[in-house]
């Protein structure tokens, strides 16, 4: 385990180093795609913490992301608050949303809870459209401040954010808290019988996942300069996040980030296929689920263990 762990640290450091140097080779267009992919990676990692570890079927990660993104966008465009304050407020709003979701999660199991999260997304989507005077409705709203207008700087912001989130979430998942979460996700009664406070840990998992989702949502809209239902709330985005995490490998945290980057880059390379590119991406993901249910990283790790 210690060996594996140190190997992950080394590989991770090498990957980050190469990624940090990419702006010197890649065009601004490709950097833009990777920037969005990195924020997406944080969404997928935050989802993996809830699903892979706490065992909660969350169909609505975009509820938390959307809350954060719209809080930041409204504070920035209506009240003119500076970006850092907006991001912090977004984190608080998302955590409040996370607690709101955690309440039913403690009472409901599996598909029932999954449906509540789906409904939460649909309600948020409808409310954004109804209160169009504040939120810009279906068209979306423009955010006056942006992180930077330089593609490389934006890219480094996103990469740094991804790395910080990955280190924190991965560390958390390998800590005692992560193990307790995993135990209560697989057998809540058993974990409670061992003397762990399952309720407290689950609520904490929701808060942490919401914190990262909301912050990433706020960062994403300050990168893009707009907030709209299609980019941060729509169920299609939630589906993409779930596909990314399952593709990369559940319960690995880092796999979710890899899956997200792979998914977005694959989408981009398959663009010449036109309409069919979604079809191909979905087919690849289905193939991974059928033949490598542990996901890409999960499969690699298992092979490593067996050798």
């Amino acid at each position: 385990m210690a060996l594996l762990r140190s190997r992950i640290v080394w590989i991770g450091a090498a990957v980050v180093l190469i990624a940090a140097l990419l702006p010197f080779w890649l065009s601004a267009y490709l950097l833009g795609i990777l920037t969005a992919a990195y924020y997406f990676g944080v969404f997928a990692m935050a989802w993996d913490l809830l699903f892979g570890f706490a065992g909660e079927v969350n169909f609505g990660p975009t509820f938390l992301i959307g809350l954060g993104a719209y809080t930041a966008a409204i504070l920035n465009s209506t009240f003119g608050l500076p970006i850092p304050l907006c991001v912090i407020a977004a984190a608080f709003a998302a955590v409040a949303g996370g607690i709101l979701l955690a309440v039913p999660a403690l009472r409901l199991r599996g598909p029932y809870f999954g449906l509540v999260t789906l409904v939460a997304v649909l309600l948020l989507q409808n409310f954004v459209v109804i209160f169009a005077s504040v939120t810009g409705g279906e068209i979306g709203m423009t955010v006056p401040d942006v992180l930077s207008i330089d593609a490389s700087v934006n890219y480094w912001y996103a990469l740094a954010f991804l790395v910080v989130c990955a280190v924190l979430l991965y560390g958390l998942s390998r800590s005692a808290v992560g193990l307790i979460l995993q135990a209560s996700g697989q057998d809540a009664v058993g974990a409670a019988a061992l003397g762990f406070n399952v309720t407290k840990h689950k609520v904490a998992a929701f808060c942490v996942s919401a914190l990262f989702s909301g912050t990433a949502g706020a960062m994403l809209i300050f990168y893009m300069g707009t907030a709209s239902v299609d980019t941060v709330v729509d169920v299609a985005i939630a589906v993409q996040i779930i596909i990314a995490a399952v593709l990369g490998g559940r319960r690995t945290i880092l796999g979710a980030a890899l899956g997200a980057v792979f998914l977005i880059v694959a989408n981009e390379f398959l663009r010449p296929l036109g309409q069919l590119n979604t079809f191909v991406v979905a087919a690849i993901a289905l193939g991974v689920i059928l033949f490598f249910p542990d996901g890409l990283l999960g499969y690699a790790l298992h092979r490593g263990e067996r050798e």
């Binding site: 699903f51 079927v57 039913p104 009472r107 409901l108 199991r109 599996g110 598909p111 029932y112 999954g114 449906l115 509540v116 789906l118 409904v119 939460a120 649909l122 309600l123 409808n126 459209v129 109804i130 697989q186 169920v235 299609a236 589906v239 779930i242 596909i243 399952v246 309409q275 069919l276 979604t278 079809f279 979905a282 087919a283 993901a285 289905l286 689920i289 059928l290 490598f292 249910p293 542990d294």
Partner: protein, 291 residues
Amino acid sequence: MRAVQILVDGFAISSLYGLAAVGFTLIFGVSGVLNLAHGGIMVVAAIVGWAAAGELGLGTYAGTLIGVAAGLAAAYATYLIVVRPIQRSRAIRPEETEIFVLTGTLLWGIMIQVGMAYLFSDNPITMRPLISGVVNVFGVRTPANEILIAVLAWAVIGLLWLLVNRTRTGKALLGASMNPRAVTLLGYELTQLYLVAWGIYGILAGMAGVLLASFLGVSTTNAGQLTASAFSIVVLGGLGSVSGSLIAAYVVGYLETMTAYLIAPTLRPIPSLILLVLVVYVRPQGLLGRR
């Protein structure tokens, strides 16, 4: 006057919701599968039926039958290509099968949706009504087609009731939903029963898709919405309970119609979503759920 209008319009849409949701709940009851490709299967039936009736010029009736057959084929494809391999996979742990089936059918549904949009089009399509003309119901001019749809939906639901409660196979299906192991011990092959259940489901979803196409019109982009509405109706009624699903279909159908007529058409889905959340909070097993 407006009250009668709401009653008549709500009845037709609710019957269709019921028809679609009954199949969904049947599959869950018998094999424990929540099929998120549900909307996709309805869309396949609707579009193939429309293409056969219009583009191939086979007429509305032949088109309807071909559409239902396409729904059946799509349901079997879903089961044989996606659901069964996942259920039988050794690499997937039993407690995780459910989430894999959910994710797998979700992806499959997306593939169906995009594939249909590519082969045909993603514009909304509307089938010609099965019968033309307008009937006066308590002073409200109602298309005869709307009444026929409600009657057809209920006839199919009635047939299903007879099948489940009055035939050997149906009773075996009911048994499989209560206690699969006992049914196996009585000499029934579960694999066969699952095939029967998916066949019934395919016909129900196919009919719902074709009828919806001739009532409101369908486009491939509706697939997700159709799945979500069937899912919420089924959860509202209680997963696995057929009568619960039917009641829930009417509750949702009327709530939506009332909101659309009395408040604003744009708010149509909101009250039923809020009701769903409330019911799930207070009574997690749904209206008539067993557990």
